[in-house]
């Protein structure tokens, strides 16, 4: 490790750190039922709001303490990783794909642009929660629908950034060159233009993972998303805020979990972006 620091190759160290964090959380999500000390919904009302094990007044067996209903925080965080990571990643992939396709097409074709960017304006003017309410009202609640809602509402950011990148790139010489050798529009968009605008897409995506995990909590808080009996980091945070003065640990630990995942995804995103850039090899 010291030799890595001496070589000034700290970036690589962070890359490995982020991979280890993500792999760890993925494993945790899979094997949560086997490693959790308690059922995440088992209430022990005699042990409400108990602090973590290293603080006075803790109850043995509850490593990270308990929440307002006496449920074990550690078990809830372990179980919550399943929902939060799944929703965060899937919703971002959905909105990224929708946004990329719409952005590419509207950057390249004027008519598509005129239509899609007006739709984007409408969606931006529309409160996300209201839109989500409407979609849930039609489709019904549940996790799959929550992912779809979050995926659909997130496309505008991608589409706008990608559109502007395409606009500036479509008149560049290598795109003109590709057209003169007979490259079709589809291949031009996906093989020539898209690889050259991956950097901003990956940057937005990594930020979106974080905001999606938070958005899940606010939708779940309104009862539109994950049922309250399924723990997720988001709904743990929102429950914890009521007790933030007296029992800070309820919101702190899921908050740390969110932070670790988001940070790891951000670092990994930077790394992936560099990998796709032949100049950095």
């Amino acid at each position: 490790m010291i030799s890595i620091l001496r070589k000034g190759n700290i970036g690589n160290l962070f890359n490995w750190f982020s991979i280890i964090i993500l792999v760890l959380f993925a494993i945790i999500a899979i094997i949560a039922p086997f490693i959790s000390p308690y059922d995440p919904n088992a209430q022990e009302l005699t042990a409400r709001l108990k602090p973590p094990a290293w603080i006075d007044g803790s109850v043995s067996g509850y490593l990270l303490g308990t929440d307002n209903l006496g449920r074990d925080l550690l078990s809830r965080i372990l179980y919550g990783s399943r929902i939060s990571i799944l929703i965060g990643v899937l919703a971002v992939i959905i909105s990224g794909v929708i946004g990329a396709v719409i952005g590419l097409l509207s950057g390249y074709y004027r008519t598509v642009d005129a239509i899609m960017m007006r739709i984007a304006d409408i969606q931006l003017a529309f409160p996300t929660i209201l839109l989500a309410l409407a979609i849930v009202a039609v489709l019904g609640g549940g996790m799959m629908n929550l992912i779809i809602v979050l995926g659909i509402t997130g496309w505008v950011q991608y589409a706008r950034v990608i559109r502007s990148e395409v606009l500036s790139m479509k008149s560049s010489d290598f795109v003109v060159a590709a057209r003169t050798i007979g490259v079709s529009d589809g291949r031009l968009l996906f093989r020539h233009i898209l690889p050259n605008i991956l950097a901003p897409i990956i940057t937005i995506a990594t930020f979106q993972v974080a905001s999606t995990i938070i958005a899940e909590s606010s939708l779940s808080f309104l009862g539109l998303g994950v049922p309250i009996n399924i723990p997720s980091w988001g709904n743990m945070l929102s429950q914890g805020q009521l007790y933030i003065g007296s029992a800070w640990w309820i919101s702190l630990f899921p908050g740390i979990a969110i932070m670790l995942v988001v940070l790891a995804i951000n670092i990994l995103g930077d790394w992936i972006r560099d990998l796709f850039d032949p100049k950095s090899k």
Binding site: D173, F174, V176, G182
Partner: protein, 322 residues
């Protein structure tokens, strides 16, 4: 051979100027205003003119990268002015382009092999496997190493990148290559290498060139015939030697006299033009050059001169010779 490979007939390109809330067209930038020229098979036609005279726009219209506002472009007997989609893509392999800036004309995310194989398989000429076999000979032909195929554009110098661009243009075995300021971005020593390469390739692959440049010496070196453009108009076109030694049009005379002479003790008379080039959004009436012409006559302000043959195969658009 005296077959016309390319005929450009009365081609115009106007870019609309829009203004106001409703984006009403309030005027046009007349980038190219009625240009007519022909190119014979195996010939190199140089197009010179100062920046903004419409020479690149003309090249891009011939390449069908820009649509023409008016006029016809006939390639090899076929009218390609309004071809679209698949038909256009099929004929496009016969005319290719070499770009000015070798840094922006190659996709930075594609390796040399991907860049050169692409023309083959997007046109269904060869499978990827067959196309890969053709990369090596093409690379060595343009003066690169076969081992360069796995490298990416940023690993090459400007001259080498231009060679990659030439290899890509050659891949489809075109008849016509439009070179838009192909050497302007390169060092002088590299310029001559690329020019010589282009001249060798012309013999070897039976190419015809349209060579667009602002550099008079470069155009003189490579061309058989030369056309001079001013403010979107072709003012003089003819045999290279004749044009450089004995130009007719007052603009050509001024242009040639302004070029630096390599021999120091040859004193030549410089014609200094007054004023600026008028805006192509608001070109003068009559002859586009009349505002600056030292030999301006009354008729020049009213009537636009047309290209007229003064000698065999030598045409000038000037009232002095009509």
């Amino acid at each position: 051979m005296s077959v016309n490979l390319l005929e450009v007939q009365n081609v115009k390109k106007y870019f609309p100027i829009t203004a106001g809330l409703m984006l009403k067209t309030v005027g046009n930038v007349k980038a190219v205003d009625e240009v007519t020229l022909t190119l014979k098979e195996g010939e190199t036609l140089g197009i010179v003119g100062e920046s903004g005279c419409g020479k690149s726009t003309l090249g891009r219209m011939i390449m069908r990268v820009l649509d023409t506002t008016e006029g016809k472009i006939i390639f090899n007997g076929q009218d390609i002015t309004n071809l679209e989609g698949k038909k256009l893509r099929r004929i496009r392999s016969q005319f290719q382009m070499i770009f000015q800036d070798p840094y922006s004309s190659l996709n930075p995310k594609m390796s040399v092999e991907q860049i050169i194989t692409e023309p083959f398989y997007v046109n269904g000429i060869a499978s990827l496997k067959e196309a890969k076999k053709k990369v090596g000979p093409l690379l060595t032909r343009v003066g690169l190493k076969e081992s360069d195929r796995t490298r990416f554009p940023h690993e090459f110098s400007g001259g080498q990148r231009q060679r990659i661009g030439i290899a890509r243009a050659l891949a489809l075995n075109p008849k016509l290559i439009v070179a838009d300021e192909a050497v302007s971005a390169l060092d002088v020593s590299v310029q001559s290498q690329i020019l010589n390469l282009m001249m060798e390739l012309k013999e070897e692959f039976d190419l015809s060139y349209i060579f667009i440049s602002h550099n008079l010496a470069v155009v003189k070196h490579i061309s058989d015939r030369v056309g001079v453009m001013y403010l979107g108009n072709l003012v003089e076109i003819g045999d290279k030697d004749e044009l450089y030694q004995n130009p007719f049009h007052p603009y050509t005379k001024a242009l040639l006299s302004s070029a630096p002479e390599p021999k120091r003790n040859v004193k030549k008379e410089k014609i200094i033009l007054q004023g600026e080039v008028p805006s192509p959004a608001n070109p003068p009436t009559g002859c586009p050059f009349h505002t600056r012409c030292p030999k301006v006559m009354d008729v020049c302000k009213e009537i636009r001169p047309v290209l007229k043959e003064v000698n065999p195969h030598y045409s000038v658009a000037c009232h002095l010779y009509q």
